[in-house]
C-alpha cells in the first residue's frame, strides 16, 4: 500500500483542483465517519484534503434573500444552538441535537454528514422537510441542488468525486410555523430506526402549511408534496391523516437491518407521523 498524501488548502478552488486531479482523494471535515472507515479499512484514500483552513466553509450567515447559509464545516453542536433557526426551521437544530452524543456533535460537520449520506443520518430528513439547498463547488463551477434532488439512492448523492459541498441554504421558515423532529432509536445516541420531520402552520383549526419527511425507511428521505398539499385547508382529522400516512407507507422501501425489520418500520410510520403532527399542533397551540 502506498501511503496517502495530506494537504491543507485554504480556498474552495484549491480543494476542488485537488479533488479533480485524483478521484481517490477524500476531503476530511470532522473525520467522524471518514476516519472510522479508514480505521476499519473500508476506504483507503490516496490523498487526504483537510478542510480545516478553508475560511469560506466555516460561517453561518443570513443571506439578503432571507435564506440562512450554513457553511459545510459548521459542526453539529453549533447547529444545535444556531439562534437563526426559528419556528419550523428548528427541525434542523432539533435533528442536530439528536445526532449521536456530545462528543460526535462536537466533531462532526453538516457538510460531512450530507456528503457521507448514511441512509440513517438525521440531517437529510430535516433538510428534505425544509426544502433546503445544497451548495456545491465542482470542476465546472458552482451550483445549487435542492435536497429533494440531492439524495438519490442508497449512499448515492448528486455529488461527483470532484465536488465539494460549500454550504447548506435553508429558506425562511413559513410564517407562524412550528417544527418537530423525532427519532426512534434503540438506545440514546444510536442511529435511528426511523426519523420524522414535520413543519406545520395552522390558521385556527385548519392546516395552512405542511411538510413531512420520513427517514430510515428507504434509500432517501420520503416526501409527498402532493399529499401534503391535499391536507391544506383541512383540519388534522384522523381520517385524512390516516390516508396521508398510508401514502407514506406505500412510498417507503425499508430494509431489514440490525436496528429493526422492514415490517416493523411500515407499522411504525403512521404512528410516528401522527405523533409528530400532534406535537407540532400542541407547539402551535402554546405559541398562539
Amino acid at each position: 500500500m502506498t501511503e496517502a498524501r495530506y494537504f491543507e488548502p485554504e480556498t474552495v478552488d484549491e480543494v476542488v483542483a485537488l479533488l479533480a486531479a485524483d478521484e481517490d482523494a477524500k476531503c476530511v471535515a470532522g473525520g467522524a465517519s471518514l476516519v472510522a472507515m479508514m480505521n476499519a479499512r473500508l476506504v483507503e484514500p490516496s490523498q487526504l484534503i483537510s478542510l480545516r483552513h478553508v475560511e469560506e466553509l466555516q460561517k453561518i450567515e443570513l443571506n439578503e434573500d432571507g435564506w440562512l447559509q450554513i457553511g459545510a464545516l459548521v459542526r453539529h453542536c453549533d447547529v444545535v444552538i444556531a439562534a437563526e433557526l426559528t419556528e419550523g426551521n428548528q427541525v434542523l437544530s432539533q435533528a442536530a441535537g439528536l445526532i449521536a452524543n456530545p462528543v460526535i456533535r462536537d466533531m462532526g460537520t453538516i457538510g460531512g454528514s450530507v456528503g457521507h449520506f448514511d441512509p440513517a443520518a438525521d440531517y437529510p430528513v430535516a433538510l428534505a422537510a425544509l426544502g433546503a439547498e445544497i451548495e456545491i463547488a465542482g470542476a465546472n463551477g458552482r451550483r445549487s441542488v435542492p435536497a429533494g434532488e440531492f439524495f438519490i439512492d442508497w449512499y448515492e448523492t448528486a455529488l461527483a468525486p470532484s465536488d465539494l459541498i460549500t454550504s447548506i441554504r435553508v429558506p425562511p421558515a413559513p410564517v407562524g410555523s412550528a417544527g418537530i423532529y423525532e427519532k426512534l432509536a434503540k438506545v440514546q445516541g444510536d442511529m435511528g430506526i426511523a426519523m420524522v420531520a414535520v413543519v406545520m402552520a395552522m390558521a385556527g383549526d385548519a392546516i395552512n402549511y405542511l411538510a413531512v419527511s420520513v427517514g430510515g425507511c428507504g434509500p432517501t428521505p420520503i416526501r409527498l408534496p402532493d399529499a401534503e398539499q391535499a391536507l391544506i385547508g383541512g383540519s388534522v382529522d384522523d381520517a385524512a391523516l390516516q390516508d396521508f400516512s398510508n401514502k407514506l407507507v406505500a412510498a417507503s422501501d425499508p430494509v431489514d437491518d440490525v436496528r429493526a425489520s422492514a415490517a416493523y418500520r411500515k407499522v411504525l410510520i403512521p404512528r410516528f407521523v401522527a405523533q409528530a403532527i400532534d406535537k407540532a399542533k400542541a407547539k402551535l397551540g402554546e405559541a398562539s
Partner: protein
Amino acid sequence: MSSSETIALKLNGEVREAAAGPTTTLLEVIRDQLGLTGAKKGCNQGVCGACTVLIDDKLARACLSLAVNSVGQDITTIEGLTENGEPSPLQQSFVDNGAVQCGFCTSGMIVSSHALLQANPQPSIDDVRDGLSGNVCRCSGYRKIIDAVRGVAGD
C-alpha cells in the same frame, strides 16, 4: 506531505514532537509515541468513548482525529486535567464514589464529565446521562459514575 514526518503537537500545555503519516490517528501518537496511556483504544470506531480528549476545548474522539489535522490545536488528555500533579476534584470524586471498576472507560468518562461541568456546573441526573451518552462502561457502573459527577457539581 506523504510518508511519516515530524509534527509538533500542543499537548497538555507543552509542545511535543512526534512522527506521523497522513493516516496516523491522534490516539496512536499520544499512546504509542508519547506514552500518555490514559486515553484508551477500545473500538477505534468512535463508539465507546474510551479515547475521548479535548481539542480546542471541544470534545473529540482521539481515534477519529488525524494527528496531522490536529497540529496547532490545544489538545488536552486526562493527564492534563490533573491540578499540579494532584487529582482534580472531579478525578478525586470518581475515586471517592467508587466510580472506577476496571478503569478502562474512566479517562473518557472524566474528560466528557469535565466538558459537561464546564458548560453546566450543576447538572441533573438526566443532564449527566445525556453528557455521558457517548461513553460506554462495560463494567456497567453508571450509577456511581453519575454520583461522582454530581458529587463535585457546584461546590
